[in-house]
Structures are given as structure tokens and as C-alpha cells.
Amino acid sequence: MTRITVTVDGVEYFDEVEPRMLLVQYLRESLGKVGTVIGCDTSNCGACTVHLDGRSVKSCNVLAVQADGHEVTTIEGLAANGSLHPMQTAFHETHALQCGYCTPGMIMQACDLLKDNPDPSEQEIREGLEGNLCRCTGYHNIVRAVQQAAGAMREGVAS
């Protein structure tokens, strides 16, 4: 067992974890942060995407011990002060989710994408989400959602 200190969605946790425990397992099993889900065992689907120190990572591809001393944000910590993140609103308003299983990872990845490129083209959005699979939506409305959120966030910055 290894001791770790990690801040998840604004709360600091001290825990003992098995060295082989994945970050996604730590989030789900130790912290009950089941909003972050698991869709594969080969790091292909992106369903488990969270932010580690503000950048997106596939949490099935990171060990819990690697998060020691770092800050993790999950889908559960994205809404601030009771209001949804513009990306969450955009997913809702453009019908960018059906079953919702890919959605936490998709939203976290989309936020990361806009961090690098606040005004992406359709192709840049598509390439930026390449690591996240969705079987329901055909991606059409996910692209719309990211476009809408990008617009809203640029306006937010401007005002």
C-alpha cells in the first residue's frame, strides 16, 4: 500500500492505495466518484477522461499513485457554484448525448480541447475528440455542442 494525497473536485483526500490501482478505480471505488465511467480495457474509448492539473487524461491510463500531490477534476466537479459549465449546457441544448455513457469523458475532453484552441474549426473539433468513442450520437451533435460552447465561452471571456 502507498499513501497518497490528492485533491479531487476541490476536496483533499489522504488514502492508502495499492500501487497497481488505476486512477479511475480510485475515483470510483475509493471515493465513490462513479460519474467517471469505464468503457474499455485498452485506453481506446475515453469514457474515463478527467482533468489532472487542468489537462485531460484517460484515468484508466494513470495510476492512482501518479496522482499523488496533484489535482483532479471529474465531471462531478465541473459545474461551479450550482451552475452548469457552458460545455454541459451545450451538450444538453444540442442533444449531444443519448445514453450518456460517453458523455462525462466527452465533456472533459471537449473542455480541454477549447483550452488549447478557443475557436476550433469543425475538423479541429473532430480531431480533438478522436480519443473518445460514442456509439449513440454519430458525433454530429457533439461537434455542434463544442461549437456552441466555444462561442459561449468566447463571449463569456469578452464580456
Binding site: V34, E93, G138, H140
Partner: protein, 830 residues
């Protein structure tokens, strides 16, 4: 109200039906408060891991569990022998013939393994990691048997998938239009065309696919006393409950099945699975809550697969392209077992190969066959995509042979809008449709004529990248299904759907539906329907489903049936509420019930301004202080609706593909489709279903395929090898609708869940073939990977003249013949 709401509202803005309402389901899903089965933790819960056979076909001679039992955290290791009296079976509910050969499908095998991945033992441990760690400590002795993997080989009965059955042939099923009196004799039509018409003969391959829903399947079982609660990632909680009771002997009344949030299904969760039954048996044996969640690799290996057919098609026509007959000969690979409706899936194609056309003679033959591979069952479209692919490919081949535009040959043969209702050569009565309108709109949105002109230019210029245009004018049958028809087909259940409406004293409304959703948006759509019907606010309607303790009756969600059948049940339950409320309202208003009219949620006395809102009636009914004599104090109502006919959505899909003739690379340039799914309750939901369906259909054409090696090992057993498309592989679509209301239900709806998937596959393949047809290519096996396209181009550029005819007959050397069987290395054009 949002911009989207206003712009997408249909002519009557005050009505909910037709509004692009945002989904009620979304909030918990976008904030991570989802309730997927694997999210559940119960006190004292054990975690299960499955020991699976690595062999496709073997007998088990011994299982040593001692080392595993001694491993840290392991509570029990359970074999098939240990639970043989309580585990039940994974039943087949649709024997397509009375003499169908149906191997017994045990959840945990005892001594015979019929495909790789079958469960041999179950480990229960305190943590999931401990359970998985113990898998390799279970020592199983297998005696390997020869495996039969190819369906055509299997038909020879030389190697048997189940030696004790004596044959691999499961069942043969035929529909013959002459025999049933719905059309002429197909052999005569073909014979005549051989002398003075056109005969097109092709053999197409429908490759094996994997539904690949994003949420891996998970089951939690809580045995409390003699009661058992099962949470499962299933599309069919009601069917699951019935089949657990029917095959394990557990009383149905002691069983509660819950489908919480379910992360996609696409038919893949229309099953009762060995994993569910094994979890139930182990939980009962240990008397403790147990959870099993599969890994993705296990999901791909042991969840059921879809499609997997060979289609031998013979189309006869007059010289001018008027079709005179179609003969279909299918070989359907069922895999190792006849899954819950596995045998029936290819048979659904019987009514769909004739599609939107007026064929005078028709015959459909289907031979189902057992092999040592994962069992095959419903995957989005289920029997209808296979049929649509076959006929839409054939219509393109006919157009090429006759030398006309593919849309022209379709128009020449399709049912015109004046001809509805139309009884087809297969014996189905299509109630409504307008193929001309959908096609005209699609052509315009697509820019059909301009693209054809560009294609001609690029052909003339010998552009190395050729443009292909693919057409698919599809129909499908939805709204499964009239119970009487299901009975005549030997199906094990009815096709009705149930709904209840509870009027709460505060004026809120609870709708209980038997259709258990997994992403489709029932909560939103049902709210819109009830809001209109009862005149209450959209926000005041709550929809409950997916728990047999709350929604005790239902037939669940598949086959694009929810809205058409389940939505109609909701309408009828609402109408009963109004009838009950009217009696009480009349009493309270001291008027005759005949003098009341109900509109906008209010009972008004005709000719006066006196009236009562339905919520007020609900409160008065709750108080029950002043009700008419003999009237019970409840407005709550139930309806069970059994449809009288199927519904028949249709559409015209047009696809433009760029095909690089030097490398075989293809890319989609544009895709436009116009679907007629009847009256639309929520355009946002309809578009979402179309988009998602399209990508699944496109993906069959271009990327997906489940492949086994010669030992029966699934080589596409992870997301590295089973290649789902990403956002970067796909494009934005142009979608639109036309509306010819269905006449078989009150709302005029037709069903939309499978349309995109059914239509898209042939549109894409037709486009690729269209690009390459000048080279003499008339088929490429799916998925049309760059390698296969390149191979087709290579072999087409050299063959002797005889093999480049537009209409080859069945000849093993002809370029459209694929070698039987599927090793991953083969190219489509070999």
C-alpha cells in the same frame, strides 16, 4: 424558451408534440450523477469474475478450484456442476420451425464448450481485483475438439458444433409468394427472364458485427430472504424477469428486475445472458449480494454478435428494367446457440427484401446454421438492414445492367403514393408512404444532378480520385408487433405494450411505461405526448420505467417499437383518465357529462365559462369528499395496447464517396437523407436517432467486422482491433424529413430507432461501387477497407473479358464471389 424551441416548432406552437424539447434525462448524465449498474455498491457485496474457455470447441475433463479458493479475498469458486439445479438456461424464445435444432444453452457450461469465451467457473471475492487475480488459479483440463467456424462448411455436417445433435443445420424457413397466394411463381419469372429479359445473380456477404454499446454489461443481484432483486444493464427487464422465472423455477412474484441507466443497447442488450444467470445463481448460493461487470474484451467476446449472413440473390426483370421476380437464399450463421430471438432475426428479412417495390413474384429461403462462434442475435435493424442491403445493392446492379440512373430504376419499380395502402408480394400491407416526395427532397438537398455532372467530368478526365454516388431507398417494418402475427410465427410472447397514468393530488402526473429506454429519450417524448393529451405542463409529467416493481408490465425497447406501440398505450391510458375525470367533473360542476368538453386541460360546460382543470378534479378525487355515487376515488388508468399492424418508415439516402483508385482509400464527401418516420413528436430526438443510426450503418460498410482465426479465437477482441469510428472518421450529415402519417396508431408515428442503420450501409457501398464500376467492379466485400478496395481495383484491371460482364452468373471465379469463410487476411475481391 430557447431559439431552437421556437424555430423548430411545427404549425401549432401551443402543442408539445412537434417541439424540439431538450431532454429531461440529461441533467444527471451531464453532471456525473448517473445510475449505471456498475455504479452500485451494496453492503457486503461480493465481486464476480468469470473463468472463460480459451477454446472454441472442447470437452471439460476436470476443474481444479483449490488454488483459486485459497487465494486472498476469494470467498467461493463455483462451477456449472455446483449450480446445475438452479442456474436455469439461456432460452430461445422464437423457434422458427417446430423441428428447429436448438442446443441447450447453459449459463455456466458443465462439460461441453461450444465457443471461446463460454463461462466455465465463477469466482466470488471481496474485491473485483481479487476475483480477477484468481482466474488463472483455476485449473481446467480441456480436451479440444475440432471446431466448425464457417457457415458454408458447417452445412456439410462434416465437423459438428454440437456432436450430440448430429447436425449443424438448425432450421429452414421459406416464404413463397405463389404458395401463400401473394404473388406469382419466382422460378417461372426467372426462367422467362433468362430467355428474353435480364437476370442478375449476386452473392453478398453480411459480415459479423458486434453491437459495441459503450457501457459494458453489468449485473448486481441482491438476494434478500426469498426475494431476489436483479439490477442489470439490459434493454429487456420484463423479458428477463419472465425468463429467469421460467427457467430457474424462481417464482416470478419473488423477482424484481431493474434496468437503471443503461448505456446503449442497439439490440446487444436484448438478451438474457449467461453472465446474468450466473450472477443470480452464485448470489443465491452464497446468500450475498453479488456484482459482475464485464471488461470490454469480455463484452466483445461473449456478448452476442449481429448479422453474419451469406445472401444469394437472383433478380429477374424485363429488358426495360421492370422487375419480375426476386429469389433470396440466405445462410444465416447463428453461432454456437440459438439466442433468445437469434433464429428469427434473419427471418424478419422475409418481408423486407421486396422493400418499396412492386415485385410480381418472390421467394425467401433461410437456412440457419450452428458454428463454434459467439451466438448471433439482434443488432440495430435486426434482419432488416441485411435485407435492405441485399435489395438496394441489386437495384443498383440492375440499373447498371439496363444502363439507367439508379434512381430511375427504383422509380420504375416502386409503389407510388397513390397506391397506398398496398399489399406487397410478401403479404405485408404498407399503410402509408410517399417515396416520390422523400426522393425529390433528398435529391435537392444532396445536389444530385450537379454531383452526377461532376462525376461524368471526372470520369472523362480519368481523375485518379473517382466520385461515386450511392442510393438507398429503404423501408422497414417497425412497431413490433401485432401479437397474433407473432403467434403465427411461433414467437414466444406477444407484442403489446403497457402504460399507466397516475394523477397525483397536486396535479402532477406520473406515467409508467413498459418501454424501458437506454438513451432514446422516452422520458421527454412521453412527457410531450401526455402534456398534450391531458393539457398539463410538460414539466409536470414524470416518466417511470425500467423497474418491474414500478412498471410491472412491459415488452421493453427494441425494434423501433417504443413510440409506435408504447406511445400509443400512453395515449390510451390518458384517454381513460379523461373519461374517469369527466364523470367526476360533471358531478362537481352540476352538469351533465354530455355537456362537458375537454380541451387544454380543462373540463368546460359548453356555452358557459364554468369549468374545472384536470388538476382540480385530481385533487377533488383524492379528497373524495364529494364524488358521484358508486364512483371510485381514482383517476389512475392503465392501457395495454396490441398493435393491429406494423408501421413502415421509409426514406431516401444519398451518399457521395471519393475513391482513390491508386491507393484504395475512400472518404465520404457528403451524405443527405430524407426520412419519413410519420408524425414527429420531438425533432431533436429524431435527428439524434438518425445521426447515430447513420454512423452505425456507415461503419458496417467501411470499418467494422468481427473476425475469428482458424482456431475460433476472436481476433477483433478489443477496441484496438474492433474499429469503431471516431469523430475524426465521420462527417456532418444533411438530414430532413417528410411526413406521411401512419394510419395504424393515433399519433401517426412510425418509429425511427433503426432507420439510419438500415439505410446507410447500401448507400455507402453503392457509392464506392458506383465510383469503380467503369473498371468492371460490381462488388466489394464489407467492410470496404482501403485494402479491399485496392485489391478489387487490382484484380479488375487484369481479368479476361469474360469476367468483366455486368451480370456474371454464379461462378466461383467471378470477381463478385467472396471465398467462403473469413480469415482476416482475405481481401474482398480475391
Amino acid at each position: 424558451m430557447t431559439v431552437t424551441d421556437e424555430t423548430q416548432t411545427r404549425e401549432a406552437p401551443e402543442l408539445e408534440i412537434g417541439r424540439a424539447r431538450f431532454r429531461k434525462e440529461d441533467e444527471r448524465l451531464i453532471t456525473g450523477r448517473s445510475r449505471f449498474t456498475d455504479n452500485m455498491q451494496l453492503p457486503g457485496m461480493l465481486h464476480l469474475a468469470m473463468v472463460r474457455s480459451p477454446f472454441a470447441h472442447a470437452t471439460i475433463t476436470s476443474i481444479d478450484t483449490d488454488a483459486a479458493k485459497a487465494a486472498p479475498g476469494v470467498i467461493a469458486v463455483v462451477t456449472g456442476e455446483d449450480i446445475k439445479d438452479i442456474q436455469g438456461v439461456n432460452a430461445n424464445a422464437w423457434p422458427i420451425t417446430t423441428d428447429q435444432v436448438t442446443p441447450t444453452h447453459l449459463p455456466v457450461v458443465i462439460d461441453h464448450v461450444a465457443c471461446a469465451g463460454e463461462i466455465v467457473a465463477v469466482i466470488a471475492a471481496r474485491t473485483e481485483a481479487q476475483a480477477r487475480d484468481a482466474i488463472e488459479l483455476v485449473d481446467v483440463d480441456y480436451e479440444e475438439l475440432p471446431a466448425v467456424l464457417d457457415s458454408k462448411e458447417a452445412l456439410k455436417d462434416e465437423v459438428l458444433a454440437h456432436p450430440d445433435l448430429g447436425t449443424n443445420k438448425s432450421a429452414f424457413w421459406q416464404l413463397d409468394s405463389a404458395a401463400q397466394g401473394s404473388g406469382g411463381d419466382v422460378e417461372e419469372a426467372i426462367a422467362k427472364a433468362r430467355t428474353d429479359g435480364v437476370v442478375i445473380e449476386r452473392e453478398f456477404r453480411q459480415q459479423r458485427l458486434i453491437p459495441a454499446f459503450m457501457e459494458p454489461r453489468s449485473t448486481v443481484v441482491d438476494p434478500t430472504g426469498d426475494q431476489l432483486t436483479v439490477w442489470s444493464a439490459t434493454q429487456v427487464p420484463h423479458i428477463l424477469r419472465f425468463l429467469i422465472a421460467a427457467t430457474t423455477g424462481l417464482p416470478e412474484s419473488k423477482l424484481r428486475v431493474v434496468a437503471p441507466d443503461v448505456g446503449g443497447g442497439f439490440g446487444g442488450k436484448l438478451q438474457t445472458t449467461p453472465e446474468e444467470f450466473a450472477t443470480i445463481a452464485v448470489a443465491r448460493r452464497l446468500g450475498k449480494p453479488c456484482k459482475y461487470t464485464e471488461t470490454r474484451s469480455e463484452s466483445l467476446l461473449s456478448g452476442h454478435h449481429g448479422r453474419d449472413q451469406w445472401q444469394k440473390l437472383t433478380l429477374s426483370a424485363e429488358k426495360d428494367g421492370t422487375v419480375t421476380g426476386l429469389k433470396v437464399e440466405l445462410i444465416a450463421d447463428l453461432g454456437a446457440y440459438v439466442a433468445v430471438i437469434g433464429g428469427g432475426i434473419p427471418v424478419l428479412g422475409a418481408w423486407m427484401f421486396n422493400a418499396i417495390y412492386k415485385f410480381p413474384a418472390y421467394q425467401f429461403n433461410c437456412q440457419t446454421v450452428l458454428t463454434n462462434k459467439a451466438w448471433v442475435d439482434a443488432y440495430r435493424g435486426a434482419g432488416r438492414p441485411e435485407a435492405t442491403f441485399g435489395i438496394e445493392r441489386m437495384m443498383d446492379e440492375l440499373a447498371a445492367e439496363v444502363g439507367v440512373d439508379p434512381l430511375e430504376i427504383r422509380e420504375q419499380n416502386w409503389i407510388t403514393h397513390e397506391e397506398f395502402p398496398f399489399t406487397t408480394v410478401a403479404g405485408m400491407t404498407y399503410d402509408s408512404g410517399n417515396y416520390e416526395a422523400a426522393t425529390a427532397k433528398a435529391k435537392e438537398l444532396f445536389g444530385y444532378d450537379a454531383l452526377r455532372a461532376e462525376q461524368a467530368r471526372r470520369r472523362a478526365d480519368k481523375d485518379p480520385v473517382q466520385l461515386g454516388i450511392g442510393v438507398s431507398t429503404f423501408t422497414e417494418m417497425c412497431g413490433l408487433a401485432p401479437s397474433r402475427i407473432l403467434g403465427s410465427l411461433n414467437y414466444g410472447a406477444g407484442g403489446w405494450e403497457h402504460a399507466s397514468i397516475r394523477m397525483l393530488p397536486t396535479g402532477k402526473v406520473e406515467v409508467i411505461t413498459g418501454s424501458s429506454a437506454h438513451g432514446q429519450g422516452h422520458h421527454t417524448a412521453w412527457s410531450q405526448i401526455v402534456a398534450d393529451r391531458l393539457g398539463v405542463a410538460f414539466e409536470d409529467v414524470e416518466v417511470l420505467h425500467g423497474d418491474t416493481a414500478i412498471a410491472p408490465k412491459g415488452m421493453d425497447t427494441y425494434g423501433s417499437r417504443s413510440l409506435v406501440v408504447g406511445g400509443e398505450a400512453v395515449v390510451r391510458a390518458a384517454d381513460k383518465v379523461i373519461e374517469k375525470a369527466k364523470v367526476i367533473a360533471a358531478h362537481l360542476l352540476e352538469a351533465s357529462a354530455d355537456d362537458l368538453e375537454f380541451s387544454g386541460g380543462r373540463f368546460g360546460v359548453k356555452g358557459t365559462d364554468r369549468g374545472l382543470a384536470i388538476g382540480e378534479v385530481a385533487l377533488a378525487t383524492f379528497a373524495a369528499h364529494n364524488l358521484p355515487d358508486g364512483v371510485e376515488p381514482s383517476l389512475d388508468s392503465d392501457a395495454t395496447y396490441d398493435p393491429v399492424n406494423f408501421s413502415f418508415p421509409h426514406g431516401t439516402h444519398l451518399c457521395a464517396m471519393e475513391v482513390d483508385t491508386e491507393t484504395g482509400a475512400t472518404s465520404m464527401r457528403s451524405y443527405a437523407c430524407v426520412d419519413d418516420v410519420g408524425v414527429i413528436v420531438n425533432p431533436l430526438l429524431v435527428e439524434g436517432q438518425i445521426h447515430g443510426g447513420l454512423v452505425q450503418g456507415i461503419s458496417q460498410a467501411l470499418w467494422e467486422g468481427a473476425e475469428y482465426d482458424e482456431n475460433g479465437t476472436l481476433v477483433t477482441g478489443s477496441f484496438v482491433d474492433y474499429t469503431l469510428p471516431t469523430a475524426a472518421d465521420t462527417i456532418s450529415f444533411v438530414t430532413d424529413t417528410t411526413v406521411s402519417p401512419s394510419t395504424t396508431n393515433t399519433l401517426g408515428t412510425k418509429g425511427v430507432g433503426e432507420a439510419g442503420t438500415i439505410a446507410a450501409t447500401p448507400a455507402v457501398v453503392n457509392a464506392i461501387i458506383d465510383a469503380l464500376r467503369p473498371l468492371g467492379i460490381h462488388d466489394i466485400q464489407m467492410p470496404c477497407t482501403p485494402e479491399r478496395v485496392w485489391q478489387a481495383i487490382q484484380s479488375a484491371s487484369t481479368p479476361p473479358e469474360g469476367e468483366r460482364e455486368a451480370a456474371p452468373h454464379f461462378d466461383e471465379r467471378a470477381p463478385n464471389q467472396d471465398p467462403p469463410g473469413g480469415s482476416i487476411t482475405e481481401g474482398g475481391a480475391q
